[in-house]
């Protein structure tokens, strides 16, 4: 380092130390919680308008890492999603909509009953495929996979899924795959391209959230 640069830094440090000493000797006025900064640290924030950020959907630039399903379960889920809801009529299928990835996160955060339903159901599909076709479910043709699924499809009314174990799983996951796909950003983009933008509904934000209780719950 050149001497000139060294002196410059020394003077800057001295100035800084002097400023800190001045701050330390400042007695806060009544009502002033903290010693004032050289420049008020919230200056200008109150006038900030929304920054126009060209947001990118994470899946288009990042790789997804499942955190709940095993690799085999994930492969089964992807095959099942492709079978139950392929691309149709210019709209994305479940795979295009990132539905298996979404369900990995969503089910992973859901209650134990739902987690068990999915894990046991996907494992059952895998073992059924091995038993019937000597290959993994992920490798089945549509016809083969359909043979395993169709016997368990039922008609049912809202909130009353079939109760037989395999029928319960198949119909529940079918409904979840459909809703996840239809409510996906990819689906919305397809609707917009068709000149039929998605419907907006009233969303309720947290209403005067109870921060005190949030602290207690932690």
């Amino acid at each position: 380092m050149e001497r000139r640069e060294f002196v410059r830094l020394l003077i800057a440090a001295a100035v800084s130390r002097s400023a800190m000493a001045q701050q330390a000797s400042h007695v806060p006025e009544l009502g002033e919680a903290h010693a004032p900064a050289p420049v008020p640290w919230t200056l200008g924030v109150g006038q900030l308008e929304k920054i126009q950020v060209p947001e990118t959907d994470p899946p288009s630039v990042a790789q997804f890492h499942p955190t709940f399903f095993t690799a085999v379960q994930m492969a089964t889920l992807r095959r099942l999603s492709a079978l139950l809801l392929p691309p149709l009529q210019g709209r994305p299928g479940a795979l295009d909509a990132g539905t298996p990835e979404f369900l990995d996160t969503f089910i992973g955060e859901s209650g134990a009953d739902i987690q068990r339903l999915y894990q046991q159901g996907l494992d059952w599909l895998e073992s059924s495929a091995r038993k019937s076709f000597s290959t993994s479910f992920a490798e089945l043709t549509d016809d083969q996979a359909g043979q395993l699924i169709r016997p368990w499809l039922r008609t049912w009314m809202a909130d009353h899924l079939p109760t037989e174990p395999h029928a319960h799983f198949i119909n529940a996951i079918h409904a979840d795959i459909r809703l996840s796909t239809i409510n996906s950003p990819a689906w919305d983009r397809a609707l917009c391209q068709k000149g039929n933008p998605p419907v907006e509904k009233l969303y309720w934000l947290p209403i005067e959230p109870d921060i005190f209780q949030l602290r207690v719950k932690q």
Partner: protein, 523 residues
């Protein structure tokens, strides 16, 4: 008002609390209203979003409002958080307790169906020998029902059906669509009733305490309101045995406060009002506070398709509209399988039929959805649940809510009466649909679990005998004459009818009685 003694303390701001406030302040009586939650500001508290913009694509967020069938990603924040205000029950007998503590309560979000109880419900024991009669008849409530219908702007059509009493309606007598006429014809062939729905339209579609009752009360200058006030217990003057106020906790700061009042009115909703009485340890010489919990059975029914409406041919007035088949069982004859009765909600739809009505997937499923579009038709039950002593609530002293207040333990279950009623409703609906030439796509004869209807009733039932009831016919405590409970806690039987209209009528009647009693110096 300084921290003195209020004339009347009202706990709760929903339909019942709002109506008593409106009635009392109109008569010059000052009221102080406490509500557990905040006042909603739509500009601040809501946005318009698509489902894809929500964290969980419209699904109910995991761990939130899991007992609320009606919750989803859009509305999860309006319901009471079960972790903040828990309740307990046996795993064998689950209960779905759906609560809203926002100012106005569930009156912000109800289905608007508005029917009077008939004497088949009000005098049910005289009719079939089960349970108890209410201490009032339809004639006693007629004036209050009419006033409530006018304020709520109930639309409907008059009929000549004793089980479906007429009211002060805005007449709605437009013709039924073709599919509804076919179902109606099938019903008429079997001597079954079929009528227009009766709905409260309020103002601009909102029929809530906050837009129909409370503005009038506020305008008198005699109503003070404290939101975010979580009431812990009522206080009692030990020398007189009368209630004289309440302790409450500020929801957001945790500060403990108290108010004093000459009269206390509980309007916190059945179960919350009962919880307060149990936690306060008062008004229970009968031992019946918490007993005879009822609600209504929903969820059983059928989904059909009208064949002539498929393939895009459903225009020309064939589809669309709703109707109701009011109770037709156990009126002049007696079923061997169940007591009381149910109504069927009928709906003819012009939109898509849900995929779950076709046991199919992939492209084949999509072809069916497209072909069946616009041909949907449904019939679903609203059925009475019998009031049984063993269906009850108590306080669970081992579990407290976020403010340290002991929670409710709910112990209730349906019996053969409810299950047989649901099965009968599905059989009846299926027979009518087939007679009308419809294809039944799906059916369900199992009711939704208790609580789903969000119509909890009872647990402080009214009656003439203090040994067998908690309240008298004016919703006044038998034990404590300056204590009133004006929500659906007072119900003696559930009926099939949505309870809101009756709640509003009873609250108005009770408030008028209270005002007279206060004027006479009796309370």
């Amino acid at each position: 008002m300084a921290a003195g003694v209020a004339d009347v303390l009202i706990i709760g701001s929903g339909h019942s609390g709002g109506m008593v406030a409106r009635t009392l302040t109109a008569k010059g009586i000052s009221c102080l209203m406490l509500n557990a939650g905040p006042v909603v500001d739509l500009k601040k508290d809501t946005e318009h979003r698509t489902a894809s913009e929500l964290a969980f694509r419209g699904f109910r967020p995991p761990g939130r409002a899991e007992h609320v069938f009606q919750s989803d990603g859009f509305n999860a924040n309006v319901w009471v958080d079960d972790k903040e205000v828990p309740y307990t029950y046996s795993p064998d007998h689950p209960y779905n307790w759906v609560r809203v503590r926002l100012f106005g309560g569930r009156s912000l979000f109800w289905s608007r169906q508005s029917f009077r109880l008939s004497d088949y419900e009000l005098q049910a024991k005289s009719h079939d020998g089960f349970g108890e009669d209410w201490p009032v008849k339809l004639a006693d409530l007629d004036r209050y029902y009419s006033a409530a219908e006018r304020i709520l702007r109930v639309q409907g059509r008059k009929e000549n059906l004793p089980q479906f009493p007429n009211g002060d309606f805005v007449v709605e007598d437009s013709p039924f669509s073709g599919s509804l006429q076919r179902f109606q014809a099938a019903a008429a062939q079997r001597g079954l009733p079929f009528s227009k729905q009766r709905r409260a339209y309020g103002i601009d579609g909102l029929a809530s305490s906050v837009n129909l009752f409370l503005p009038d009360a506020i305008a008198t200058g005699k109503l003070e309101i404290v939101p975010n006030a979580v009431v812990r217990e009522l206080t009692v003057d030990k020398s007189t045995g009368h209630v004289n106020g309440a302790y409450f906790i500020e929801r957001l700061t945790g500060r403990e406060l108290s108010v004093r009042a000459r009269v206390v009115i509980l309007a916190a909703g059945a179960l919350e009002s009962t919880r307060l009485l149990l936690n306060s340890g008062i008004a229970n010489s009968s031992g019946l506070v918490g007993r005879y919990l009822m609600d209504q059975i929903y969820g059983a029914g059928i989904i059909c398709s009208v064949p002539e409406a498929r393939g895009g041919k459903g225009s020309g007035g064939l589809m669309g509209g709703t109707a109701i088949m009011p109770r037709f069982r156990n009126l002049t004859t007696r079923s061997q399988k169940f007591l009381r009765g149910y109504a069927l909600n009928i709906s003819s739809q012009t939109g898509a039929i849900d995929a779950r009505n076709f046991a199919d997937f992939g492209e084949s499923l999509q072809k069916k959805i497209d072909f069946y579009h616009g041909s949907g038709f449904s019939a679903t039950i609203m059925g009475e649940v019998l009031g049984r002593y063993e269906n009850h609530v108590t306080v669970d002293k081992d579990t407290v809510d976020a403010w340290g207040i002991p929670v409710l333990r709910i112990d209730t279950h349906y019996t053969d009466n409810e299950f047989n009623m649901a099965a009968d409703a599905v059989d009846a609906a299926q027979e009518l649909a087939e007679a009308a030439g419809f294809e039944v796509l799906a059916s369900n004869n199992i009711p939704n679990p208790p609580g789903y209807s969000i119509h909890e009733m009872g647990t402080c039932r009214m009656g003439n005998d203090p040994k067998t009831s908690v309240l008298n016919k004016w919703n006044q405590s038998h034990d404590i004459k300056n204590l009133f409970v004006v929500d659906a806690s007072s119900f003696v039987s559930s009926g099939w009818q949505n309870p809101t209209l009756t709640i509003v009528a009873l609250a108005m009647r009770s408030a008028e009685y209270l005002a007279d009693q206060m004027r006479a110096g009796n309370v």
